[in-house]
């Protein structure tokens, strides 16, 4: 198939995937709307306390019944009301649609790569498309693990929403035709450095979504009240741990992306670090996430404060992706926008 035909196919697949993502998003929204009343399920802090009590009573020998570990809140609340069943069903449809959208999205990225005969992340449109694919991939991997302690379907809306937004931005503002690369990007490091950045950004996005959920859930748990759908979310403590796991996993990948970028810069420009705006902001993001990891080990900074640092880290990442690429002058001006 000729390059142009493949590029057209890629665009068609991308638009199709967006339509399916939109369907998935409605399903996740409906799942929340159908959620049962809060009082029936939302009692985790008490449950945690009672578990702790169990652990310390002498009857823990033999007789103690197996208690679910905190964070092992069953994915579906054990109420069995009509609303729950309906919410669960529509949520499953959402997952099925997400898988379909992922397949179309993946096809679009692959076709784009084939049409240009290179790694399909050479400009902002392609980076956004591939980054959004990474977000969906991480989400589906977490779903596929079916770890009862880390349910993730509740995140559906917070994953598919931003993915759809990113793709919308990509096809409207950022779109560029499928072409060859500028000479500066013709390097094996494009695959190594940018792939690492894309994977890290996908994981960080999930971590960001979980951190937001944690902050909301934490507030609601303190107040003991809130919208019904939040009852379907894991406890604040479990969300906090899940978010940490995401960030701890992404941080070394981001570190690697920065190092690989430095190696590439040395090979292309003769210096491995030159405080180009893109480099500077990659460094800032790295430092802020390093702050987050340290804050979690510092008294008085755990919990909400550390979570705010993580949000700030994601903010610096977004700044690097959107503002630096488009508005700041530097050596990394490959956006192909304008």
């Amino acid at each position: 198939m000729a390059g142009e035909t493949l590029a057209q196919l890629s665009n068609n697949l991308l638009y199709s995937s967006m339509a399916v993502y939109a369907g998935a998003m409605y399903c996740y929204a409906a799942e929340m709307a159908f959620a049962p009343r809060r009082q029936q399920t939302r009692a985790v802090p008490v449950a945690e306390r009672s578990m702790a009590t169990v652990a310390r009573t002498p009857t823990a020998y033999d007789a103690a019944p197996r208690t679910a570990v905190d964070g092992g809140r069953a994915p579906a609340p054990p109420t069995g009301t009509h609303g729950t069943a309906r919410a669960d069903r529509v949520g499953r449809v959402g997952v099925a649609l997400t898988v379909l959208a992922f397949a179309l999205h993946l096809g679009a990225v692959v076709a784009r790569g084939l049409s240009a005969g290179r790694a399909p992340w050479g400009n902002m449109f392609e980076f956004s498309t591939a980054g959004a694919l990474a977000v969906t991939t991480v989400f589906l991997v977490l779903l596929a693990r079916r770890d009862p302690r880390y349910p993730v379907r509740y995140l559906g809306l917070f994953v598919v929403g931003p993915v759809l937004l990113t793709l919308g931005l990509a096809v409207t503002v950022l779109y560029t035709d499928s072409e060859q690369l500028v000479p500066a990007l013709k390097s094996v490091w494009l695959v190594i450095h940018v792939t690492a950045a894309i994977i890290a950004s996908g994981i960080l996005t999930l971590g960001f979504a979980q951190t937001i959920c944690y902050l909301v859930q934490d507030r609601l748990e303190r107040r003991g009240d809130g919208p019904a759908f939040m009852a379907r979310f894991p406890s604040a403590a479990a969300l906090d741990r899940a978010a940490y796991r995401m960030h701890a996993f992404a941080f070394p990948i981001w570190t690697f992306a920065v190092i690989a970028g430095a190696i590439w810069a040395e090979n292309a420009w003769g210096r491995y670090w030159g405080w180009d705006p893109k480099e500077t902001w990659a460094f800032i993001t790295w430092v802020v996430y390093a702050c987050y990891l340290h804050a979690r080990a510092t008294a008085g900074w755990r919990g909400r404060k550390a979570a705010y640092i993580a949000l700030l880290g994601y903010g610096t990442f977004l700044f690097n992706y959107l503002v630096v690429n488009i508005f700041l002058v530097g050596l990394h001006s490959y956006a192909g926008v304008g």
Binding site: A52, Y61, A248, I259, N267, V287
Partner: protein, 541 residues
């Protein structure tokens, strides 16, 4: 938990309580000790990290003289009131500013002050045996107990075997087994932080002994690696001119290719410079196809292709009809379509010196915006020139840009209508100056390449340090430091009361893994009943 064994499973400095403020009256030694404790505390490190991130921000928003001096000059011209203040605050050179250096140096001192005592503590911990079990195992984060149908000794032997196969360091006591693993977590942590210090040193070495120069080379010309050959050159304090690698490079040909169609028309697609080089005056001449991302490596020094442009060839005759200038003149590209500006200075013309300034357009048109190129390659090469006579000012001793004409002591040639004389020349065409003052002919075009030559002896150490940092980081994040205790006491009739309990380095982050681990150990001991309980109290760090 007051038991020694369950105390913090880490050699990290204790930062649980607010450090006490300085006593009102302190002797100097106490003050120093207090200040050192403050500096090496986690809070201070955190604050310094934050500061480092914030301090970097202006470096990306304000033009930096080390990166783009032209934009710095433009900024200064546009903001005459602000610029002196920016200058005073080193905002045009953030990353070499004293306050930026103060932040990272304090951070690294704080880091060293943290790493050294931790290394000592970790060294001791690595050689120590896992501690005896605490009296009350039930109070640990994960705990399970049951009655087993065999005697304590066989349970403990089995437990020790199981824990060893799980890579624990195991000590068998009379009535219990102590086990610990994941020492590599702290090793990795220390490696990571030490590697960061190493990285800083490597960067410093590179800055001290390295050099970087750029040189513009027109096709069929060359340069040798000497200070005089460079258009710009920067080096560190420890740089020794005599140690410049003695190579020479000649640019035979530069081939370029641009996107011809589509919405990215004019985007560069390939630059390829054919070089002939000698790595030493006596060495054989070799050829190399220099491309972006494919530097020429000569004896630890690298030659990069970082830019290109056009050098139109002009021939100038003066009033006597004598040829007073002939050769290629590099013009500077101003936009993506290589609309280029430049000047021709003819010092030897009589009766007055001649100067020409204007544009070179690889694909020229003249529209409302003035002369402009519409495509970066040579489809319709055009030179648009205006002419001056008078004093070029080159003899005044003040250094001049070769791309600018100082017209203060010059008069512009005018045409018959009194307007400034201007000519749009195609190759082979000539512009004749009025009053028989001479002529300029546009003979043709050569390309030029901008080459960057760089030598950084800190490069490989920096890469090694970065690799160690990454390795250390992964160890410190993914290795789990855990302690497991198994206690078995005789319960009569060949039966025993068994307890398994565990503690993690960072309980809040490892509780699920710890729970799984204990479940695994317990089932290997033949107990399938109730699983371990996990409490949320007593989170450790």
């Amino acid at each position: 938990m007051t038991d020694a064994a369950t105390e913090r499973l880490t050699s990290a400095p204790q930062a649980e309580s607010e450090p006490p403020g300085p006593p009102s009256a302190m002797r100097p030694a106490e003050l120093v000790r207090w200040a050192w404790r403050q500096l090496t505390s986690m809070r201070t490190a955190l604050a310094l990290l934050f500061l480092l991130a914030m301090a970097s921000v202006p470096g990306s928003l304000v033009p930096q003289s080390g990166i783009d001096p032209v934009r710095v000059a433009q900024f200064k011209a546009a903001h005459p009131g602000l610029a002196p203040w920016y200058e005073r605050l080193s905002l045009f050179s953030v990353f070499s500013a004293p306050w930026f250096a103060a932040i990272y140096l304090l951070l690294f001192v704080s880091l060293a002050g943290c790493v050294l005592p931790r290394s000592k503590a970790h060294w001791r911990a690595m050689r120590a045996a896992p501690p005896r079990p605490p009296r009350n195992l039930e109070r640990l984060p994960v705990h399970v107990g049951w009655r087993a149908g065999r005697d304590p000794a066989s349970v403990l032997d089995e437990a020790a075997r199981e824990l060893r196969s799980r890579h624990y360091r195991v000590v068998r006591h009379e009535d219990a087994v102590s086990a610990e693993k994941g020492y590599l977590r702290e090793t990795g942590n220390l490696l990571f932080h030490t590697a960061l210090i190493g990285l800083l040193v490597a960067v410093a070495v590179g800055n001290l002994y390295g050099y970087k120069g750029s040189v513009l080379v027109v096709e069929k010309a060359g340069f040798s690696n000497t200070l005089a050959a460079y258009d710009s050159f920067s080096h560190g304090a420890g740089f020794d001119e005599d140690k410049l690698a003695p190579f020479t490079v000649e640019l035979d040909r530069l081939r370029v290719r641009y996107q011809a169609t589509g919405d990215q028309r004019g985007a560069p697609r390939d630059f390829r410079a054919t070089l002939s080089y000698q790595s030493a005056p006596t060495a054989a001449t070799r050829r190399y196809a220099l491309r972006v991302n494919h530097p020429l490596v000569l004896d630890g020094t690298k030659v990069f292709l970082i830019g290109n442009g056009y050098a139109p060839i002009f021939t100038v005759r003066d009033s006597t009809g004598e040829q007073v200038f002939s050769g290629p003149v590099p013009f500077l590209p101003q936009d993506g379509n290589n609309t280029s500006v430049g000047v021709v200075k003819v010092e030897g013309a009589t009766p007055e010196q001649l100067g020409f300034q204007g544009f070179f357009l690889p694909t020229g048109t003249i529209d409302a915006r003035g002369p402009i190129s519409t495509y970066p390659d040579l489809l319709l090469p055009t030179a648009v020139l205006t002419a001056f006579r008078g004093d070029l000012g080159t003899g005044s001793g003040v250094p001049q840009s070769i791309y600018k004409l100082d017209t203060r002591a010059m008069t512009q040639f005018t045409g018959p209508t009194g307007k400034p004389l201007a000519g749009a020349l195609r190759p082979g065409q000539e512009m004749v100056l009025p009053d028989r003052q001479g002529s300029i002919r546009f003979d043709g075009v050569r390309r030029y390449a901008t080459l960057q030559v760089a030598h950084d002896p800190g490069k490989s150490p920096a890469l090694l340090a970065a690799a160690c940092a990454l390795l250390g980081l992964m160890l410190s994040l993914f290795v789990k430091r855990r302690r497991v205790w198994v206690r078995a006491t005789a319960a009569g009739g060949g039966r025993s009361l068994v307890e398994v309990a565990a503690l993690a380095r960072v309980e809040g982050e490892d509780r699920d893994g710890l729970h799984d681990e204990v479940t695994g150990v317990v089932s290997s001991l033949g107990h399938e009943g109730a699983g371990p309980t996990t409490s949320t109290i007593g989170e450790e760090d």
